[in-house]
């Protein structure tokens, strides 16, 4: 199943600390004011990124926490502090949100630009949930640049069903829709990276 790749990645010198589930009680600790507003809704170019997180029965789960990390509209990766105390002007590229009681999440953000010429722009997503023993990573690709999507090495390594789970849908009002299925029907492709152990 896993592709032979990056075999040249050096081994770790120290054994990594294990992850554990976020549990049910993060709600008073991790969310913060404007955590899901990477930009103000009134800013030109502001985009709604939203969707639903479901379990293996197709049931929305009400206790997941999501984080996104992305480049700005020009494809620049920013390194600016201030995410936890949003001033409404500084784009830090990172946001967090807890899903609501019906498993729905919303971020207000920008369409990321291509970080390199010809690359398919994507947003990095991390999923935490009660019942999920370790975090999951995936990518949210923008749907527009079909040529870049066709040339993307990760998408090329997936079958059509898997590819579909990683490309967001552009809705009529400009919103990006990206649903997350933890298991079963339409299960989202989740990623591993080199140097995890």
């Amino acid at each position: 199943m896993t592709q032979a790749s990056n075999t040249q990645a050096p081994a770790l010198k120290l054994a990594p600390t294990p992850g554990q589930t976020i549990g049910p009680f993060y709600g008073y600790a991790l969310p913060f004011d404007k955590d899901n507003e990477l930009v103000n809704q009134a800013r030109p170019g502001a985009v709604r990124l939203h969707g639903v997180v479901t379990d293996g029965a197709g049931t929305p789960i009400p206790d997941a926490l999501l984080e996104i990390w992305q480049a700005d509209e020009a494809g620049n990766i920013v390194a600016r502090d201030g995410s936890l105390v949003r001033d409404g002007y500084t784009f830090t590229g990172w946001g967090r949100t807890a899903v609501d009681n019906v498993g729905h999440y919303t971020f207000t953000t920008l369409n990321p630009g291509a970080t390199e010429e010809g690359k398919a722009p994507f947003i990095m997503l991390t999923v935490f949930a009660r019942g999920l023993l370790n975090r999951l990573f995936t990518r949210i690709y923008l749907p527009e640049d079909t040529a870049a999507l066709a040339n993307d090495p990760l998408l090329a390594s997936l079958d059509e069903a898997g590819r579909k789970t990683l490309v967001a849908t552009r809705e009529a009002d400009g919103s990006l829709r990206f649903d997350i299925s933890l298991q079963g029907e339409g299960e989202t492709v989740f990623l591993s990276y080199p140097r995890e152990s």
């Binding site: 199943m1 592709q3 990056n6 040249q8 050096p10 770790l12 010198k13 120290l14 054994a15 990594p16 600390t17 294990p18 992850g19 554990q20 589930t21 976020i22 549990g23 049910p24 009680f25 709600g27 008073y28 600790a29 379990d55 029965a57 049931t59 789960i61 990390w69 992305q70 480049a71 990766i77 390194a79 600016r80 502090d81 201030g82 936890l84 105390v85 830090t92 590229g93 990172w94 990321p112 970080t115 009660r130 019942g131 023993l133 370790n134 999951l136 990573f137 990760l154 390594s157 997936l158 933890l182 298991q183 299960e187 492709v189 989740f190 990623l191 591993s192 990276y193 080199p194 152990s197």
Partner: protein
């Protein structure tokens, strides 16, 4: 188990156990854990690589049944945004947020402790200037959370939330109250070992992790399906802090040391590779 996700929850009586869950005994859960661990140990004897992370498919933790992907994680070569991490700093976190005992008008009840250590990456490099967030139950095993209806007292002087930015050597230090074990609904008479939740960032966002720190010698370790989802005994031990008398301070607080190792940075070695050519 789908009933758990779909049932409407009453916040006023949710400490009443789920009838389905109560039919499962600790012995039944423990037997499942024992079988999975025995199979893992045999696989290592047969040459499998030692596991460093929890299984995400771990049935003794019943809430995991419908919440783990069934397909293998798909290998990705990290690129661009995945090789960087969000930046945090003094703008984001005040130094006093690392002291959980001074957030209210009075002193919280319980055993005052200091938990201190370093955040390192898998190459042993300190992770400097990064965000560490913690949350925990109070000295009676109660969280300040509407979903926690364990009939143990809330402490009006303890919220149980802290933040810190790591120092130049990756160091962090929290002053807090030792949390107590608390009951949960996985099975009949299920209790979590005392723990502090930790949320961590590295230099690459692929190093992002959330975990739980435990206290040495907890008698509940062997019974807990969340802790035991880590099948490897050495890996489990990495979540247990060490009592450290050099962190203990005279007539004030006992001290624990816990160092956290993230996965390896991909940015550094990929840049090195590029530099070679």
């Amino acid at each position: 188990m789908s009933t758990e996700a779909t049932s409407t929850e009453s916040f006023t009586d949710s400490h009443v156990l789920d009838p389905a869950a109560t039919t499962l005994s600790q012995d039944a859960i423990s037997a499942e854990i024992t079988d999975i661990h025995a199979a893992y140990r045999q696989s290592v004897v047969d040459g499998a690589k030692a596991e460093t992370q929890p299984r995400i498919d771990f049935a003794p933790y019943r809430s995991s049944l419908l919440r783990h992907p069934t397909k293998n994680l798909h290998h990705a070569d990290p690129e661009t945004i995945e090789l960087h991490s969000p930046a945090f700093g003094e703008r984001d976190v005040h130094a006093l947020e690392a002291d959980l005992t001074i957030q209210h008008n009075g002193e919280p009840i319980g055993e005052r402790i200091v938990v201190a250590g370093r955040v390192l990456d898998g190459d042993g490099r300190p992770v400097a200037g990064q965000l560490v967030e913690i949350w925990q139950a109070n000295a009676a095993g109660r969280y300040i959370h509407k979903r926690d209806q364990h009939p143990a007292p809330i402490d009006p002087n303890f919220t149980g939330v802290g933040r810190a930015i790591t120092g130049p050597n990756g160091e962090y230090s929290f002053t807090t109250i030792k949390p107590a074990p608390y009951p949960w609904k996985n099975h009949h008479n299920a209790w979590r070992p005392a723990h502090i939740h930790f949320s961590l960032f590295g230099t690459d966002f692929t190093q992002r992790m959330i975990t739980q720190m435990y206290f040495p010698g907890d008698p509940l370790f062997s019974l807990d399906p969340i802790y035991q989802a880590i099948t490897d005994a050495d890996a489990r031990a990495r979540l247990v802090a060490t009592y450290d008398h050099s962190i203990t301070s005279h007539e004030w607080a006992t001290g624990y040391n816990w160092d956290i190792v993230l996965t390896g940075s991909n940015r550094t070695w990929m840049e090195d590779e590029e530099g070679d050519h």
